[in-house]
Point group: C2
Chain length 414, copies 2
């Protein structure tokens, strides 16, 4: 953001500030001499930049480093966790999660609330704003150190206008100007991006570079993409719509009118229905009661894990279908791995992970050139919210001005 | 950019040369004053750079421009077509195409020869080398002006080692070091990339930026990708393997062992077989005779175009299947268009284009944010070879040092 400040000279300063902050973030702590080596900047430049960043409270001393020679020990520098905070909001049709990250990317406060099923989006936006205030208070983050709020929302979104267009599972939402509405309520800069893109960004921040797909299993499915260490957004930041890939022409009817879309076929509701039909679960579960469905789904998954039988077959069929989708994406994009996440991943993990691994070992077409890995997110169910906040932090650490495109800029008063 | 200046003067020279050449290429002709405006370089720098490029024979005078004021008319500069040449080779299992492009990207000579079905790759490599020599001679391109040879090969490839790993339709090929073998024979720098990536690059060169998939319909199908004006290569340059997306669980058996893979289901061989079975074409066509199959396929397509009936139904079913694959890729990557090409595209174009357009109008999930377009390549059947040559020219015009990654660098003696 400092890149935008004033003149060309300031801009180069901001660019180099980001280079230095990013170098320290990647190595946890570095001396000034090491910083000069890593960044290619002169000792004098490093001296000026680090002084400025220490004064600004973004860096702090981290003790001394013994050197092998006769020189005096070098002071190490690390990020000052309290130097900056970022808020992340994940708007899921079922639950809203809000986190606060410090400058090092640690989650220091979180809260999740059920998404109110109101006809009026204002009710939900009020609820989100109130939750953000609560979490900032809980984090004890001084307001002038909170850089901004990132929102991870279901697509399609209009990033340029900060608008949630028509999310399939939030029926009352149509062209809701979420970014500006929220900014008005909380008085902080706000950016909006897609849920799966935020999750992919979180994975990248957590150290997973390279080329991968983040496969989200929740209310619907979605794919976030990182290729060659870069988050892929597509032409309008609406990347990752995989819910209508057809995996079973005889499968359940999807709201799109066709049968067997993977988004529908992987819903607990459908699996629980199958389990009732085959006698794995007793009849009488109300498929419109989300709580009842979730509990029944948990029983189904646990029974599937226990051993062979009808329960396992139901989950195995789903696993094969998801594996085919992963296979097709991996082959299309020449990826190195899939990272699964989202609320339904943890229950499905034991069987799904193995199934996808086995399928890809056989069918990844570039396997003679490089392997393909299957992993679950280490960031848990908050990955979307953490990712939304990481998009805000990104702007502090990004030494590449080209990522600061207007359509992803924080829009705010500061 | 200024950050880089000073560390390596030679490199900055090359970098700015590329900036200037690229600016002229995009505008066809520019004056020095316009060049300074467009590139942000000083008048003095432009004066030095253009003098160097004129002396090197890469630019030439292009007449004078009247100015509105009283100043003297400005000299315009344009690319000197004969300043540099690039050779492109498309290695298709059925046909090898070789083109020579001049510095402006114009095809000035071409030749295609049937791919010999020899067990020994050496025979084919000899044939390619001889064809390259012929085409360079035909182009009357002085050898010291030929920058290099680009090869577009079917995947998977090992770009780092310049090796064609195991192309599914060239059964005798396994780990053939095509790049180095060819370089030894012809004494020119050679680069190797995937066929579909080369085709996507050609489309980009021809003016089609943005975000699109190049959908190749030939011996097998494949997808080249450009997202945000950048060619997407994936983690090992093996992007675009879409041949095993299953479009019909009851379809023909694929060599991978499954049924209904789109690569198999879209082969003329399979469509002609269907046409014989339904009586659209007379029995007795030898499905192992490529020439006979191609001729029968042409009859089928022409009959399908003539009006409703069984022939049209066969083609319509294929069109729907291909449309579904395009739909899934477009939704995954938030693309703006598909560009079809390859030897089978022209015959299928009238029906396929409309079918894909209709399907995407209804099913492109981001259609409320931006439209999706369906086009055919304007570069004809040589698009792969032209693309291979454009990858060589790219290196002259690319002002971005990061595209000159070691694994895509020209390997050669010069």
């Amino acid at each position: 953001m400092s890149v935008r400040r004033g003149t060309n000279l300031d801009r180069v300063g901001g660019f180099n500030d980001a280079v230095v902050l990013d170098a320290i973030r990647r190595s946890t702590r570095l001396s000034r001499v090491e910083l000069a080596e890593v960044t290619g900047l002169s000792g004098q430049a490093i001296s000026n930049i680090t002084r400025r960043l220490l004064e600004a409270g973004l860096l702090r001393d981290a003790g001394r480093q013994r050197t092998s020679g006769l020189g005096k020990p070098r002071t190490l520098l690390e990020l000052e966790p309290a130097g900056q905070y970022a808020v992340g909001v994940h708007l899921d049709p079922a639950v809203v999660t809000v986190v606060v990250l410090d400058l090092t990317g640690e989650v220091i406060a979180r809260r999740s609330v059920g998404t109110p099923h109101a006809d009026d989006p204002d009710v939900l936006i009020d609820r989100i704003a109130a939750t953000i205030e609560d979490v900032i208070t809980e984090a004890a983050a001084p307001r002038d150190r909170v850089t901004g709020v990132g929102i991870a929302a279901p697509g399609p979104i209009d990033v340029e206008r900060g608008v949630v267009v028509d999310p399939p599972n939030l029926s009352a939402w149509h062209l809701v100007p979420l970014r500006d509405e929220l900014r008005e309520r909380i008085g902080l800069p706000v950016l909006l991006d897609k849920d799966v893109t935020a999750a992919a960004s979180a994975e990248k921040w957590a150290g997973g570079g390279g080329s991968f797909v983040f496969f989200y299993l929740g209310t619907g499915v979605g794919a976030g993409l990182v290729i060659g260490d870069e988050v892929v957004r597509g032409s309008s930041s609406n990347v990752g719509e995989i819910g209508h890939v057809i995996v079973d022409p005889d499968g359940p009817v999807c709201y799109c009118g066709r049968r067997g879309c993977v988004g529908e076929a992987s819903q607990p509701r459908y699996l629980v229905q199958q389990a009732m039909q085959t006698g794995v679960l007793a009849q009488g579960i109300d498929l419109d009661d989300r709580g009842a469905v979730d509990a029944a789904f948990a029983r189904l998954c646990s029974e599937a894990e226990d051993g062979p039988g009808l329960a396992r077959e139901i989950v195995a069929v789903l696993a094969e279908r998801i594996a085919k989708v992963v296979e097709d994406i991996a082959n299309l994009l020449d990826l190195e791995r899939v990272v699964f996440g989202g609320p339904h991943w943890e229950q499905l993990a034991p069987l799904l992970g193995d199934a996808v691994r086995a399928a890809l070992e056989e069918r990844f077409l570039v396997r003679s050139v490089h392997p393909f890995e299957v992993a679950g997110t280490a960031l848990g169910v908050d990955v979307g919210a953490i990712g939304a906040a990481s998009l805000v932090l990104d702007q502090t650490f990004s030494p590449n001005p080209s990522v600061l495109l207007p359509d992803r800029e924080l829009v705010g008063e500061r």
